[in-house]
Amino acid sequence: MSEQEALFRYTLRMGDNSLVLGHRNSEWCGHGPVLEEDIAQANIALDLIGQARNYLTYAGEVEAKFRPSALPTGQAGPLRTEDDLAYLRGEREYINVQLVELPKGDYARTIVRSFLFDAFHLPLQQALTTSKDERLKGIAEKAVKEVTYHLRHSSEWLVRFGDGTEESHRRAQEALDDLWRYTGELFTPDEAEEVLAKAGIAPKLADVKQEWSATVDRVLKEATLKRPADGWMASGGKKGIHTEHLGPMLAEMQTLQRSYPGVEW
C-alpha cells in the first residue's frame, strides 16, 4: 500500500469515526436526561462532526492525488467532497470502528461508549500534533482541545454513575461489560495504520493503547467500576464489515442525497 493510499484510508477512518459518533450523540438533542446535558451532548456532536468535515475534505483531496482516474486523459480523479464521502458511500465502504456505530442506548451506555472512545481519541490526537503531515497536524491541534473536554465530560459522568446510586452503578457496569469487546479493534492496526506509523505520520497504536489503558484504570477506580477481562474482541469495522446498526443509521442520514441524486441542498 502506497503512503498516499494509506493516508487516504487513514483520514477516511478518522472522519468516519468522528462522523458516526457525532451522529449518534446528536440523537440526544431534545431527548437528554436534563436540559444541560442536551446542550453538552450537542456541543460534543458539533465538535466531532466538525472534525469529520476536516478529515473527509482532506481524504477527498488525498484520494484525487493518488488515484489517477479511469479517465483516458489521465488527469487526477474527480475530487470527492466531504458530502460525497459522507452521503454517497454505502456501509461496506465506511471504515469506522464498530464501537462508534452502536445505538446510543441508555445514558450509561452513551457515556461508557464515549469514555472508551475519548480515552483512545485524546492520546491519538495528541500524538498527531507531531505528525509529519502538516494537514493532520493542523487538524489535531484543534481537535486536542475539543477531545480533552470530551474526555473530561465522559469521565466525570462515568464516575458519577459508578459512584452514584445502585442503579446507576449497575447500568454503567453492564454497559462497560457489553461494550468492552468493541475496544480491541481500536488498537489493532490495519495496513494503512502500519504504513503511516512507519512513516512518522501517525502514532503506533500500541503506544496509544498504553495511555488508554492507564486512563481507563484510573477512571474506573474512581468510579468503583470493574475493568472487564479481555476476552473475545469484535472486529471488522476497519475493513468495512459492520454491526447491523450502521446500515439503518446511514440509510437515515443519506436519505435525501440518495433520493434526489446530484442536487444542491
Binding site: 462522523l19 451522529h23 446528536s26 440523537e27 438533542c29 431534545g30 431527548h31 437528554g32 436526561p33 436534563v34 436540559l35 444541560e36 446535558e37 442536551d38 446542550i39 450537542a42 456541543n43 456532536a45 458539533l46 462532526i49 466538525g50 469529520a52 468535515r53 473527509l56 466531504e82 458530502d83 459522507a86 452521503y87 441508555d106 445514558y107 464516575v159 458519577r160 454513575f161 459512584d163 452514584g164 446510586t165 442503579e167 446507576s168 447500568r171 443509521m249 437515515e252 442520514m253 436519505t255 435525501l256 442525497q257 434526489y260 442536487v263 444542491e264 441542498w265
Partner: protein
C-alpha cells in the same frame, strides 16, 4: 436566590408598625408606586414589590415561552439525523441546541420569580402548562426546516424583539441574549429556501408545499385576535407586552410578503393584497377553530410531543438521581 428573600417578605402584621424602620407601605400604595415605576420605564427587579397578578402573569408567560423552546426542539430535531449535507447538519444541530439554551435562559428568568424549574417542568408534563401551538405541526420534508426558520423563527423574533423592552428585568435581559443568538436562525431557514427555490422543480415544489402548510400556523403564533385575548390589556398596562397580537401579526405579514416574492413562492391566501390607503397588506381570515383545537390538544402532533418530553424526563430520572447521590457522597467525603 430570590426565592428565599421573596418568602421573607415582611408579614402583614408589621404594617401596623409604620413608623419603624424599614417603613412598610400598604399594598394599594405599593401598587401605585409599582405602576409609576413601570410607566417611567424603570425595570422591575426580582426583589421589588409587585402585584401578585403581575408575578403570576409573568411566570405563566415566561414558562410557556421556555416550554415552547424545549418542545420546539422536537420538530426540528426530527431532521438532524437526516440533514442533507454536513454543513446543514452542523447548522441545524447548533440551532436546535440554541433552543435548549434559550429554554434554559427563560427557565432561569422565571425562577427569579420564586417558581422552581422542576415545578414548571411538572406543569408542562402534566399538561397544565401550555406551549406554542406551532410545534404541534409535523415536519414532513427538509423544506419544513427552511420554513420553520424563516416563518416560525421570524414570527418568534417579532415577539422577542418586543420583549427585550419588557418591564421585568430578568425577562428582558434573557430576551436580549436570546435575540442576539436568534438572528442566525431566521437567516439559515431562509437560506435553505433560497437553495430549494433555485433548485429542481421537485425542490421548488417542496418549498411551496412547506409554505402552504406553515403560513397559517405561523400567523396563529401571535395568539388570539386582540378582542379575544384575555391577558392582553393588563399585560400592556404592566408593559410585559409592548405591542398587541394583531399589531405584531400585521407587521410580520407586511415584512414577509416581499421575502416570499423573492423566493418565487406564493403565499396561500387569495385575499392577500397591498392596501394603499392603510399602507399595509389586507389578508384573509385565520381559522380560529383549528387554532383552538390545536391548543386543546388536538393538533397533529400534540400527543407525540408530550410523549417525547415525558419519556426523556422519565428516562433521565436515574441520571439526575445518580448525579445528586454522587455530589452528596463527595461533599461528605470532603467534609470528613
Amino acid at each position: 436566590m430570590y426565592k428565599i428573600s421573596l418568602r421573607e417578605r415582611v408579614p402583614s402584621t408589621t404594617l401596623a408598625t409604620r413608623n419603624t424602620f424599614p417603613y412598610i407601605m400598604p399594598d394599594s400604595q405599593q401598587e401605585s408606586l409599582f405602576q409609576q415605576k413601570v410607566d417611567a420605564e424603570q425595570k422591575i427587579e426580582p426583589r421589588d414589590w409587585m402585584p401578585d397578578g403581575y408575578r403570576k402573569n409573568l411566570v405563566r408567560q415566561i414558562s410557556q415561552h421556555a416550554h415552547s423552546e424545549i418542545v420546539g426542539m422536537l420538530p426540528e430535531g426530527n431532521w438532524i439525523t437526516r440533514a442533507p449535507s454536513l454543513r446543514r447538519k452542523t447548522i441545524l444541530l447548533a440551532k436546535v441546541q440554541d433552543e435548549a439554551g434559550h429554554g434554559l435562559y427563560l427557565y432561569s428568568a422565571a425562577e427569579t420569580l420564586g417558581t422552581g424549574r422542576d415545578e414548571m417542568v411538572d406543569q408542562l408534563l402534566s399538561g397544565a402548562a401550555k406551549y406554542s401551538s406551532i410545534f404541534n405541526y409535523p415536519t414532513l420534508t427538509w423544506a419544513d426546516i427552511g420554513a420553520i426558520g424563516w416563518l416560525v423563527d421570524g414570527a418568534a423574533i417579532m415577539n422577542q424583539v418586543m420583549l427585550c423592552r419588557t418591564s421585568y428585568g430578568p425577562y428582558a435581559r434573557a430576551m436580549v441574549r436570546i435575540c442576539k443568538e436568534e438572528s442566525f436562525h431566521q437567516r439559515q431557514g431562509y437560506d435553505i429556501l433560497i437553495t430549494l427555490s433555485k433548485g429542481t422543480p421537485e425542490q421548488k415544489a417542496m418549498a411551496q408545499d412547506a409554505l402552504d402548510r406553515w403560513w397559517w400556523p405561523s400567523l396563529m403564533m401571535f395568539g388570539p385576535s386582540d378582542k379575544d385575548s384575555p391577558h392582553s390589556a393588563q399585560s400592556l398596562k404592566w408593559k410585559i407586552k409592548r405591542q398587541s397580537n394583531d399589531e405584531l401579526r400585521q407587521i410580520f405579514i407586511d415584512r414577509t410578503v416581499s421575502q416570499a416574492e423573492f423566493l418565487g413562492l406564493k403565499i396561500p391566501d387569495p385575499k392577500l393584497k397591498w392596501n394603499e390607503a392603510t399602507q399595509h397588506y389586507d389578508w384573509g381570515e385565520i381559522d380560529w377553530t383549528e387554532f383552538n383545537e390545536v391548543i386543546r390538544g388536538n393538533g397533529p402532533c400534540n400527543a407525540e410531543r408530550m410523549a417525547a418530553r415525558r419519556k426523556a424526563h422519565a428516562d433521565g430520572a436515574w441520571v439526575r438521581e445518580a448525579a445528586l447521590a454522587y455530589a452528596g457522597k463527595k461533599s461528605k467525603r470532603n467534609a470528613a
